[in-house]
């Protein structure tokens, strides 16, 4: 069943169509990857889906509801949560506090309630803390809980980003290049995390460069080139696809980890 439908989504910057007429479905419970060479429009597509950028035309439908170009926090409240590329975290907070704050969506207390420290607010707080501890243990960064986030090594930062995404308990988690800049070992553990997140019933849509990693983890793959969708299918189909090979390699078949 499709949890999200991307319908003829288009984004133009002046005369340039960064994303042009792209349509695909995301099925509930799958790991779907969007790949493509540099400048293919992956990041733009990612921002369109998470509503950090308004679409020129087309729409994104999430569980039957049009969420195109709504405010990011509104989309987040519906269960569409994104992570960021690189090291977007609250640098000066501890690892645990980062994840606690990311539970914001689940507060039952009002802002006045926070201020007065009502019972509901305190219960929220304690619950978030327990849940945050559980999540960072799950992703293997539990031992760093009291470390300032800015001091974490690269691989752990990604894990923290994912932990914050999970804290929001999304229906669908959008991961922006979760394996970029990782060595083989870090990638391997990040792959485990992504599978673990899906194992909890969260649909995962990821945008990524790292082909071998994508091939290992994805159920289905969507390939973009020059803003257009050129292929869609299971990893084995994508590996064989002429158009994809051409987009990545030009005419000549050279080495590439696919």
């Amino acid at each position: 069943m499709a949890i999200m439908e991307v319908v003829k989504l288009t984004k133009r910057f002046g005369g340039l169509a960064a994303v042009n007429n792209v349509s695909f479905d995301v099925h509930e419970g799958e790991i779907l990857s969007v790949i493509g060479p540099n400048g293919a429009g992956k990041s733009t597509l990612f921002k369109l889906i998470s509503s950090f950028l308004p679409a020129t035309s087309g729409k994104v439908v999430f569980r039957g509801e049009d969420i195109t170009s709504q405010k990011p926090h509104v989309v987040a409240r519906k269960g569409v949560i994104r992570t960021f590329q690189e090291t977007t975290i609250f640098r000066d907070m501890t690892v645990l506090d980062n994840v606690v704050v990311a539970h914001h969506l689940h507060s039952k207390a009002s802002l006045i309630g926070f201020f007065l420290g009502t019972r509901v607010a305190r219960d929220d707080e304690a619950g978030f803390r327990r849940s945050a501890e559980e999540i960072i243990d799950f992703l293997g960064i539990g031992q760093m809980r009291d470390e300032a986030a800015k001091n974490l090594p690269h691989g752990h930062l990604r894990a923290l980003g994912m932990a914050m995404g999970m804290a929001a308990a999304p229906k669908i988690l959008l991961l922006d290049e979760p394996f970029a800049g990782m060595n083989a070992e870090e990638t391997e553990s990040a792959l485990g995390m992504v599978r673990g997140i899906r194992g909890r019933g969260i649909t995962v849509l990821l945008v990524e460069h790292d082909m071998p990693a994508v091939m290992k983890v994805s159920d289905r793959i969507v390939v973009l080139n020059f803003g257009e969708m050129i292929a869609e299918g299971a990893p084995s189909e994508i590996q064989e696809n002429e158009a994809v090979i051409e987009a990545y390699l030009g005419r000549e078949d050279e080495e590439l980890g696919i």
Binding site: P72, H73, T88, I89, F90, D92, V101, F115
Partner: protein, 334 residues
């Protein structure tokens, strides 16, 4: 520090202030007035600090203090309201204007927001000067009466200030405002609201990605900020019993920034410490008064270079536990 110890410490500090200052200044009304002024400034400054806390720089606090001041003056002299109603009214009036201006203004980031707030104080002054029908123009509003009696169901809660030692009564009014203001700010910062404000300071996109309504929170912070400015403005009006368009000038707006810097942007009590030290320091060094802007400028540069987290970041290792980057003491960069 444990919670109980903190409460005890706060209670002792408040008691010392309430008893010690009038005792030290007995018969020296001028100095008592200096402390009273500093407490009023610290109330206004608390708002500026809160805006630092969400990652913006508000150089327009003087405008909102002026609005509050005029609101109180008009409510008391023209409408004949009691000061005890006029003061919260002034806070609300200033807050209302703040929210109206803030809605579009707070979309701007970094230096753009600061630039516009910088012009607000001058705009407010010019408006006060030209709206003669409301503000009496450059002549100001004079002879504003002292706070009258406040009674609830016939029981006198606060006696008429005219029957009391005026200087002492105003000191206590300032002290109460000071304590309430900083209690509120402290509570805000240490509640979840504080976490959300800190998340804005650090990364607004990230905050919105997990569902934080960033524009609304910014306006809430600005509403709190401008409310304090309004109440502080009203306090100055009743203290000086007059208000002019130049009662709060651009210079005052920038001094508030300096007070926050000196005390420390990461500390709730930073603006309080900064205001008292700088304002009272200059009152003591009367002879340097004409060089005040120059010295303030040098001080600001010096603090940014050598003490970026303010005076409160200095720790005496013997007496206090080392600073941990826990709740109230985070933040810092803007």
């Amino acid at each position: 520090m444990t919670r109980n110890r903190k409460i005890t410490l706060a209670a002792v500090a408040i008691a010392l202030y309430l008893i010690g200052v009038p005792w030290l200044c007995a018969g020296r009304n001028y100095y008592l007035g200096v402390v009273t002024t500093a407490s009023g400034l610290a109330v206004i400054c608390a708002g500026v600090w809160l805006i630092f806390y969400i990652g913006r720089i508000n150089i327009g606090q003087g405008a909102f203090a002026l609005i509050g001041g005029y609101a109180a003056a008009i409510a008391v002299t023209k409408w004949g309201l009691s000061f005890w109603i006029a003061m919260p009214f002034a806070g609300l009036a200033s807050m209302l204007v703040g929210m109206l201006i803030g809605l579009p203004l707070l979309r701007l980031k970094g230096v753009y927001f600061s630039m516009i707030t910088l012009s607000l104080t001058e705009t407010a002054r010019l408006a006060a000067q030209s709206l003669k029908a409301v503000t009496n123009g450059p002549n100001g509003i004079l002879n504003i009466p002292l706070p009258g009696e406040l009674s609830i169901f016939g029981v006198t809660v606060i006696p008429d200030f005219a029957t009391l030692n005026k200087h002492r009564a105003l000191f206590y009014l300032g002290a109460v405002l000071l304590v309430v203001t900083y209690a509120v700010i402290h509570r805000v910062v240490n509640s979840r609201l504080g976490w959300l404000f800190r998340s804005l300071q650090q990364n607004e996109d990230l905050a919105s990605s997990f569902g934080v309504n960033v524009p609304m929170l910014r306006v809430i912070a600005f509403a709190i900020c401008t409310f304090f400015a309004g109440v502080g403005g009203a306090f100055f009006v009743v203290m000086q019993q007059s208000i002019y368009p130049a009662t709060f000038a651009v210079q005052d707006s920038t001094y508030f920034l300096l007070y926050c810097f000196i005390g420390g942007l990461g500390f709730v009590f930073g603006p309080l410490v900064g205001t008292f030290i700088l304002y009272m320091g200059f009152e003591v060094l009367q002879g340097f008064k004409e060089y005040q802007p120059l010295l303030y400028a040098l001080l600001m540069i010096g603090v940014m270079l050598w003490l970026p987290n303010g005076l409160l970041s200095i720790r005496l290792p013997k007496f206090l536990p080392p600073k941990t980057p826990s709740r109230p003491a985070s933040g810092g960069d803007i």
